[in-house]
């Protein structure tokens, strides 16, 4: 009885609040944890995620940094090596390029180069994605690109549960974890279990069951893809929707189980098409489930253009419902 109540007790919240709750929880539970980044403190976070945490945890643990992405990311690496559990916030993925040397040449390689003597238990959070008309320098979706790097894990929470639960699990990892929060999700609201906590970060999730085609996606595109599945359902097509959750490592088993059953797949990914994560997933399906395929795999990615400012062009550059539906139908031979 009590158990049932606990399970069903939910609270209305937003993705932003869920991330904040995760931060607060981690800061409260483990005093090695601290948050460091541009405007995380006094400003309250550029997307208001860390609002209120400075008052609660003080300026040492909610550490505003100068505009020095490489410097403070590297400082996060060093602090992690010395026993802290830093959460570095790189305001957005667009600025993370300035820190890429530290991420790739240090965070991702130190365990290996040191012959396993030193680890870098660092969590780096950043906002990602387009859709807010921020134009070419502020609209990158590079999470799939980061997934190329051995030595790091890449997480993309798409749901309230994952926004709330992935951080703590990431902090338990002995190696660097990058968490990409899609900017379009921060305002997403819904019900979250009151006792929501850590979630696994190993498995992809089947967000909708279906037998006709596998739609594989993650992050901000999950919701468009679920919508597409609903539209397809009205036409009698039962699409299965897979939320990858982790882009590195990828959960091949969940993907292959689904595709082997549906025999058709479309991958939806907000990265630029060439060299996208979608290509990697498509290639893995070819490698592991080629003989199960009844049709070419499709992908819906961003157009190969720096994201333009005007809304109609930006929308046209990104994966959208009609494109997903159309790709699914093509894969089903109904185009």
């Amino acid at each position: 009885m009590q158990q049932a109540a606990a399970r069903t007790d939910t609270v209305e919240t937003t993705y932003r609040e869920a991330v904040r709750a995760a931060l607060r929880d981690a800061l409260g539970r483990d005093n090695r944890v601290f948050l460091m980044g541009e405007d995380v403190g006094r400003y309250g976070g550029c997307y208001a995620v860390s609002h209120g945490l400075l008052a609660e945890f003080g300026p040492e643990r909610i550490r505003d940094t100068p505009l020095s992405e490489s410097g403070f990311t590297g400082a996060g690496i060093g602090a992690a090596m010395a026993g802290m559990r830093p959460i570095v916030e790189l305001m957005t993925v667009n600025f993370s390029l300035l820190a890429l040397d530290q991420i790739l040449n240090n965070a991702a390689t130190i365990r290996h180069m040191s012959g396993n003597q030193f680890g870098v238990p660092l969590v780096i959070r950043m906002a990602t994605g387009a859709g807010r008309q921020l134009a070419a320098q502020h609209s990158h979706s590079l999470e799939g690109w980061y997934a190329h790097i051995p030595g790091i894990k890449v997480l993309t929470p798409a749901t309230l549960e994952d926004a709330r639960g992935m951080l703590w699990t990431a902090l338990q990892e002995p190696d660097p974890v990058l968490i990409f929060e899609n900017v379009m999700l921060y305002n997403m609201s819904g019900n979250l279990a009151c006792d929501a906590g850590a979630v696994d970060i190993d498995k992809a999730a089947v967000r909708r069951k279906g037998r006709d085609i596998s739609l594989i996606t993650y992050g901000g595109s999950l919701w468009k893809t679920l919508e597409a599945a609903s539209v397809l359902a009205t036409e009698g097509i039962e699409a299965e929707v897979i939320d990858l959750r982790s882009l590195r490592p990828l959960d091949d088993a969940t993907i292959m189980t689904s595709v082997t059953r549906t025999r058709r797949a479309v991958i939806v990914d907000e990265g630029w098409r060439s060299g996208s994560l979608a290509a990697e997933i498509g290639m893995r399906i070819v490698e592991q489930a080629f003989w199960s395929l009844d049709a070419p795999i499709g992908r819906v990615c961003s157009e190969e253009v720096p994201i333009p400012y005007p809304r109609h062009l930006e929308m046209a550059a990104l994966p959208q419902l009609p494109k997903i539906v159309a790709a699914a139908k093509t894969a089903l031979g109904q185009a």
């Binding site: 505009l67 320098q137 333009p308």
Partner: protein, 334 residues
């Protein structure tokens, strides 16, 4: 009637022009803020309220052949530089008649005709580019000056350091203009620099420098004149710190938790337009009629720009993938 007879730039006419330019920026941006709430303008919008004396004081002194590199807070710079207001407003709307064909928006105003090299939205990202523009000047043996604007927040970035060193080492004709408005978003200068005397940074690279009251357009212009002359003659970099203050939020999303209203109010009396206008009035250099004529001319220009932007056209979606590489149908800048 001039302050210093013989110096044409201190003529009354020139004074009025400085005032007019500042008011033009202010009123243009006030309109933009309004249009933002109407969702005509989208994305990020960073206003220059309180800082107008910097762009006006510096860019006024540049020659047509000179170059300008700016940040995402660059409407004022574009307007002073002579990018037509209509084209700027159309850009804010994202229309293809905009100065960047609508592709760039508020943060990426570009204009080849006036050597306006953009609107860069990566903090510090414009500094290496400006250094390279000046390197071209050096190698081409011209007498062009490149003026590079950036906020004091950019000073913490590695690119600031690399650019100042390169410019000084290679003796490149670039004027670095630091718009020190005390905050980088919500981060006060003292929280971002161990040495808060920004002008002092220049000396670390053996770059000549000056700090000036960035709320005083006449002082800025005078300093800019010295600075630009120095760059033009010496073909070496120069660093100008303009101490100013942003009276509005960082962008349209900023709840300003990091500063008191009182602090903002304490700066308001130094606000460059009221201050300069008051001074001109006190010294009877401007007649109230003149002022209202000026304002109504500006408002008419703004109205026209809004009208232009409203009636301007959306780029056909079929063209989405153009301008990633040069294509043959449109001429390129250089």
């Amino acid at each position: 009637m001039t302050l210093t007879a013989g110096k044409p730039h201190l003529s009354r006419e020139h004074m009025l022009d400085l005032l007019r330019q500042m008011i033009r920026i202010r009123r243009f941006e006030n309109k933009c803020a309004e249009l933002y709430t109407q969702e005509k303008i989208r994305g990020f919008l960073h206003l220059y309220d309180g800082e107008e004396a910097v762009a006006v004081g510096v860019i006024t002194v540049l020659e047509k052949r000179d170059r300008v590199v700016a940040t995402y807070r660059e409407h004022g710079h574009a307007l002073v530089r002579g990018v037509p207001m209509k084209a700027v407003m159309a850009e804010m709307y994202g229309k293809q008649e905009g100065c960047s064909r609508g592709r760039g928006g508020s943060m990426h105003l570009f204009n080849a005709a006036t050597n306006f090299y953009g609107g860069n939205a990566i903090v510090g990202g414009g500094l290496p580019v400006a250094t390279g523009l000046a390197l071209a000047s050096r190698m081409q043996g011209d007498d062009i000056v490149t003026a590079c604007f950036f906020g004091e927040g950019a000073v913490a970035e590695g690119e600031f350091h690399e650019s100042l060193n390169l410019a000084a080492l290679w003796q490149l004709p670039v004027l670095f203009v630091c718009e020190n408005n005390s905050y980088a978003m919500g981060t006060a200068l003292a929280l971002s620099e161990s040495e808060t005397d920004i002008q002092h940074k220049a000396a670390c690279y053996r770059v000549a420098s000056e700090a000036v009251d960035g709320m005083d357009v006449v002082a800025v212009e005078a300093a800019a004149r010295r600075a630009i002359q120095a760059v033009r003659d010496s073909r070496k970099p120069y660093f100008l710190e303009c101490r100013t203050y942003r009276l509005r939020p960082h962008s349209m999303f900023d709840p300003q938790l990091y500063r008191d209203k009182a602090e903002v109010e304490s700066w308001r009396p130094r606000e460059p337009i009221a201050r300069f206008q008051g001074w001109l009035e006190t010294n009877r250099m401007i007649h109230p009629d003149e002022l209202s004529r000026m304002v109504s001319e500006i408002d008419a220009e703004i109205a026209e720009a809004v009208n232009f932007a409203e009636t301007a056209s959306w780029e056909p979606v079929e063209q989405l993938c153009r301008f990633v590489h040069a294509d043959s149908t449109v001429p390129t800048g250089q």
